[in-house]
Symmetry: C2
């Protein structure tokens, strides 16, 4: 029996606390270049990772409401903190596919690990939630998970200190407990962290596999949309539209660092408090 293939040409909504989610947009664009994407970066309230659960949930609810107002077919929380702390609380609140980084990343790490020791790097909010440990151990309880909060990584990245000597100092400090426990797989549980991948892999060495949340989430999103017959039928390159809650110029300027290419599309500022 042939199933009828249907399509959904509405845009995919992607949000992050700031610029980090653009590393996921980069991967989404590579995996399905024909999809339209609406991105919201909450640059007026970044970072999320050092705030309380209650505040993170409030902010994420507003982010999703904003994207929903643009008639998106799915919402990707391209933010480790939002995915770990808030999505579970909000999943029944919105009539839309809500995709976080947690599930795809945990699955990918379990596929890669050989010695069953996985390290997780994340913001304090993410690590305090224990969501990665819980997510991995739900799939395989025999795996040891070592979680490490990296409070300085987001400010280092947001201020462009990607290979500064101080970045190495913090990375060595944060990676030490993972290396002592001899993890063979490390999850970059925050979409800012791929920008520190050079430093992180230099310290960890070649024998450790690094899992990039943006890439795994993009793959997972494609799989979900395909299963639900919600891929776009358009053949030309998709339109990307960017919204932020603070300065447009700074986002356009710094965003290219995360996206891997210059942001050419329009960027608009919105008042996220009103959502």
């Amino acid at each position: 029996m042939n199933t009828i293939q249907s399509y959904d040409n509405r845009p995919i909504g992607v949000f992050d606390s700031g610029l980090g989610g653009l590393t996921a947009v980069k991967e989404l664009t590579r995996i399905f270049p024909n999809e339209n994407i609406i991105y919201f970066g909450d640059t007026g309230r970044v970072p999320y990772g050092t705030r309380s659960e209650e505040t993170i949930i409030k902010y994420v609810r507003q982010d999703i409401r904003f994207l929903m107002s643009h008639n998106v077919k799915a919402v990707v929380a391209a933010c480790g903190t939002a995915s770990s702390v808030a999505l579970n609380h909000l999943k029944n609140e919105f009539p839309v596919e809500l995709i976080g980084v947690l599930e795809p990343v945990c699955t990918a790490a379990l596929k890669k690990t050989k010695n069953h020791k996985i390290g997780v790097l994340g913001t304090p909010g993410t690590i305090n939630s224990g969501a990665y440990s819980a997510g991995i151990q739900k799939l395989n309880s025999a795996v040891t998970v070592i979680e490490q909060a990296c409070p300085m990584f987001v400010p280092l990245v947001e201020n462009g200190y990607l290979t500064h000597p101080a970045t190495y100092l913090f990375a060595e400090e944060y990676l030490k407990p993972l290396m002592e426990k001899q993890v063979d797989t490390v999850i970059l549980g925050c979409t800012h962290y791929p920008l520190l991948e050079t430093v992180i892999t230099e310290i960890l060495g070649d024998s450790v596999t690094v899992i990039n949340a943006g890439y795994e989430t993009a793959l997972h999103t494609k799989q979900i949309l395909k299963e639900k017959n919600m891929l776009s039928s358009q053949t030309e390159c998709g339109n990307h539209t960017y919204y932020v809650s603070d300065d447009v110029a700074k986002f356009s300027c710094l965003g290219g660092m995360f996206l891997g290419k210059k942001i050419k599309a329009a960027v608009s500022k919105i008042d996220i408090d009103t959502y």
Copy 2:
């Protein structure tokens, strides 16, 4: 002729982007222990210093409105960024004494400098505003001002890295241009920075005078209230009340580091978006 001394027992309102302003509360308490103080720390949206002028003005307007709703006799912007970027735009908007850190700090630095070379350390928002240079040169145009943005100082302090080797690396980098220009006076233009005073003075050496914004602002506040017959007449110790826009527990725990003693008073969470 004797003037009649009158009093005003309403509280003084103090706000900051987060915890930093508590360094000013510490000085205010020392200078007039009998005054009631209402503090608001915008911990749900900290930091201000890396955001745009428009966003900083919006946030500061809400902060002042919140304090005004508590019938304060004066509002102290115990925040270098708020004082430099927003107060000038808002000073005619509120029927209250609006006191920033800029004026007292510039005056104090001019009194101290002998070689007429003053350095200013501040957040990117503060330094981009050029407010310190303008403020000093309005008082004495013969003074050379060297301004230096220190984007990592607030996250380092907010995460408790007060004497970390990375803190020394950033401090050396940020102080180098000031030392090359042989400044003899350095303004700590952000209320977080007194917590890094040990590191900063160690690098600068004894010959450089460091100006603490919190202390100078507390002195200036006393002078203004005295001139306007608005000091409190109460003789017992004043009541302190704390409000934040994020987690109460984290503020109570970390706040003591800034206040120099444990926070014993009640801390409440408010929704600053609604002001």
